[in-house]
Point group: D2
Chain length 339, copies 4
């Protein structure tokens, strides 16, 4: 098989869960060719991820933007932790390599907000200024020509896409919105910690970072953009004992009496032509979307509140899948290719 | 070992999860002696529950109130489904046997409410009239002399005990309260159905009965009692892939600006002297309470909302444990005996 | 997208787990087009499998070989239970439709063995006579021209491929071989039963059908074929609390002293050119192979026994994946296409 | 409640899983009083184990044998890692405090065997010489007067009790015995490692330490004692995705043709009067024994092999429960007290 016409790709930070998911999607993508994976240790990618044995034969290399350029890399996917990502992006862009950054480093437009929520100042404000927030259903037009795409967070996508039709339609109060979210444990990354030690988190659920989770401003920024005026959410993440999947139950107060049918119609219209959003009449389960790039939405009206149920695979739709969707948009491919 | 002074007990409906939990607690209780277990099929209890092999040697018998009386039964615990329970209670009371009913049949004071939410009319309104709602922390004084205790539901206890201090203290708006609850699968009972088939519900979460769950009026009835005026909740149950445990995240709107410290103090004061309520500063995990009769509570104030986190074991605190707590109160024993 | 050159496919028995896995693989296959899914109830496939919403728009139809022929169906994949499959195969073959049958109906060459283990006599011995056992690594040459492929069982593939190099190399005693296997619960199918009710099988392991499992003769038939003389195994299946994955730990007695290196070399040689068998030095986890068509093998020599560890995804490699691998062979496609 | 007549107890190494299980059992024990818990950090026990909030109010203290003596401690339960335990035992015994040591330090009679399997030499051979291996069903008579009880390992109990009737009855070949064991993840302890990180080990099974696990010589030592001549086992541990439970499938070769009934009778006779061993006709599930001190056994004869199925809770029967059973024997209490 020749690789004529394939886009040459580097994956940065190859040891974690988003990297291995990304690699698996790209290996099936007809127009993508992974030519480099970076990591601190120069070991085979399949030592980190035995599932890749016999599928990807690369040895990890240290990050070096010029070396990647020399290999013909056209697009780099950043699977680095926030903070570290900021160090890699500028050299890549300087080499003319386009970047889809899966970290949080370029998501918040306002560097002060970044400093406030991430506890350190942003030191690549130059590139932050032109980064595009890569939520295709809302910012897709900007993604096409972006040199730097800030891939959206896992939780925020359920909150933003779950609320966008209501905010865009001026249907709800823009404060006091509750986003109650449940996530599988892979969302916490691959570094072992007591909280994610199997006998601790298995057979248990808990809330965490109540009122303090960093995805709060990300949700608000996009919804404020959609609504044209400030939107404020109360976001409560929970950890549930499963590998993957996010389920958000969202409560909003309508500005006037609405019927479930009317709300449903608003969602169907808003997402017309968006192949990865499924507006459903039945209640979604995360299992329906796990393994796919779909986000499932359902709406209910209960005792004067609108309840939105939103479900996705946190590693695919929530990270690596939407990254490939962005990649497709950046190259003029059909969004659905590779899935 | 003699059984002098032990209360003779029958367990009705021995095949399910609440029955086996109840039996395990009672087997350790120094003042309880199980003398009969009823079920449709006359097989050993340990055929239903192999975990009881070598611990309880009884063969199930068909329900017969007179036969139970003849065996000296003083208290019957009803682990029957709603509807069926209603048939058993009157004959037991007629025999002078006190009843702790774990079904929903005697929880709602208003038979119309029962008909509305359970879809059939109540046909033992005579006994409904004197039944006591057995939530010890609120109705404990009434439990002592009750002939019929309506053991509270699993979800409702988290909602009621999670909100009672706020409602009692007139701290919150009494409508628009959100009770977002997660339950392990044992809450669905022991009858196999597709929704609880392992490969369907494992590694998945979903909401169910949104806006329609029967525990809604039960929560409202108790909180209305506590507050002295109508309380309305929006209750959203979810199924999470674990055996047991309920975690409720509750959102209420304070009537005036409150601090977290103030709210916490209110909870600590309200639950002073209640040995099974643990008001905590850290966030609870269901694993902390599973296997015990504790209900764990924590409070947060976030962007103008009070968030209450409430956690319990759905089979113990949520059913069989609180039943034994009620049993203790009915006999003047220390509430904590048997745990 | 035109479908020129695609093979037209029917999936029979669309409601179960092997069907949905098969459909997902085929939807990504560049040379396959699903034109019909059969089931008793004429409902959309996505009603059975919400994960297929937006991906496969077909409504299930009752089984009718002539109607399938009229639609241009060239290959039918049978996802029916054993017994039922036998009814569908003959009419399909009569219509000139090739069949990959995922049931057990055509796996055992000897109809008496079928009667003995499945408790009913075989009533399509005519087609049984020419059916090809579709384990590509061993019978691949026969698959190419087969009209009827008996797709191999999930457990047997780990037993057969785990032992074939030893049996072929005349390295072990051919009786007393132990195949101790662990399976995820999806292997039990989609019909709810108490044994697979989440609160029963979650957080628990058990053995079942000890000495009586129907996959025993299937393992022995293939190994006897490989070895040229009777091979006898003791096969013990266990249920473990996970969705999917099979892990077999196999114990064999070498005929002479062997080193681990020698055994490993035998495996590497035997599986040269077999893209879906990964002979590994490290110990496999089922997670490495779940989601793929790989079977992972490792060998150890301990105190005079050869221990083989074999791992696979029971729904993909164990059923629907190997079915597509067979489909590829039947059409002269690269085995790896579609994965 | 007065504590007259209660045995004063210290728990050493209070931060792990065996400690918290032990504490929960002892809190229910009518003749036990926990007066000290030791740990490196002087924090409340309930900081390590929130489940103990409201149940045990102690603050951990550093280990000091004299200080424990001064508190009246009569028995110390050692929940320390191997190696560390060896440092604590001598000072305790010097103070006249009896010790139940849950580590592996005093299990192997032969210090050379310890050095071989644990990779360091034993430096308390003086006390090793009089330590009693605390498997009550076999060594119960010695436990009564022991000053130092070496509490048995989790896996070994299933292997030893699973095979003892066969070995004692001279029914099987004493080499080539296979002990294939599955364990829940709590068996690996509470220190976070990648292998026990939830998203790694959840939904996956694997074998580990094949042919090299340290419990091998422990099994062999006890069975050799029972049989009077050397017994050799091939022990293969596996990790399965559940919190607790061990399931061992044991394969032995009978010396002569035996029937299942005969083997079963041998087990029933051998375990007569042993309240914590349940010889069953049905196949056990770990769920039947989890939460209890029972070990469940079943036997099958298949194609000339005897298969024994053995199941237990690894933290209770496998560690803390059997420790309390030993405690009971040491004080002349009924073995069953506290369970």
């Amino acid at each position: 098989m020749g690789h004529a016409g394939k886009v040459k790709i580097a994956v940065l930070g190859g040891s974690g869960y988003t990297a291995v998911e990304l690699i698996k999607i790209l290996l099936r993508h007809p127009h993508a060719e992974i030519v480099a994976v970076t990591s601190r240790d120069a070991q085979p990618v399949s030592d980190y991820h035995p599932s890749l044995l016999g599928r990807l034969d690369l040895v990890c290399e240290p990050f070096d933007a010029a070396a990647l350029k020399a290999k013909g890399v056209q697009v780099a996917f950043g699977c680095l932790p926030h903070g570290a990502s900021m160090e890699a992006v500028a050299p890549l862009l300087d080499q003319g390599i386009r970047v889809v950054d899966l970290s949080a480093d370029y998501r918040l437009r306002d560097p002060n907000l970044y400093a406030e929520w991430y506890g350190e100042s942003h030191h690549d404000t130059k590139n932050l200024a032109h980064a595009v927030y890569g939520l295709p259903e809302i910012y897709g037009a900007n993604v096409r020509d972006a040199r730097l795409v800030a891939n959206p967070g896992c939780y925020p996508q359920t909150g933003i896409l779950g609320l966008a039709p209501l905010v865009a339609g001026k249907l709800i109060e823009q404060t006091g919105i509750i986003v109650n979210s449940l996530s599988g444990v892979s969302g916490a990354g691959r570094t072992p910690k007591l909280a994610y030690h199997f006998p601790e988190c298995n057979e248990s659920v808990t809330a965490y970072n109540v009122g303090k989770h960093r995805h709060t401003p990300e949700i608000e920024q996009a919804l404020t953009h959609v609504g044209g005026s400030p939107v404020q959410v109360i976001f409560t993440p929970h950890l549930v004992p499963m590998d993957r999947g996010i389920f958000s139950t969202i409560y909003a107060t309508p500005l006037r009496a609405v019927s479930e049918a009317e709300v449903l119609a608003q969602y169907r219209e808003y997402y017309t032509g968006k192949p990865f959003v499924r507006v459903r009449t039945g209640l979604p389960s995360t299992k329906d979307s796990v393994g796919s790039n779909f986000i499932d939405l359902a709406v209910r009206v209960v005792r004067g509140k609108i309840i939105v149920l939103a479900s996705e695979d946190n590693l695919i739709r929530g990270a690596s899948g939407v990254a490939v969707q962005n990649f497709n948009l950046m190259h003029g491919f059909d969004e659905r290719i590779g899935f």
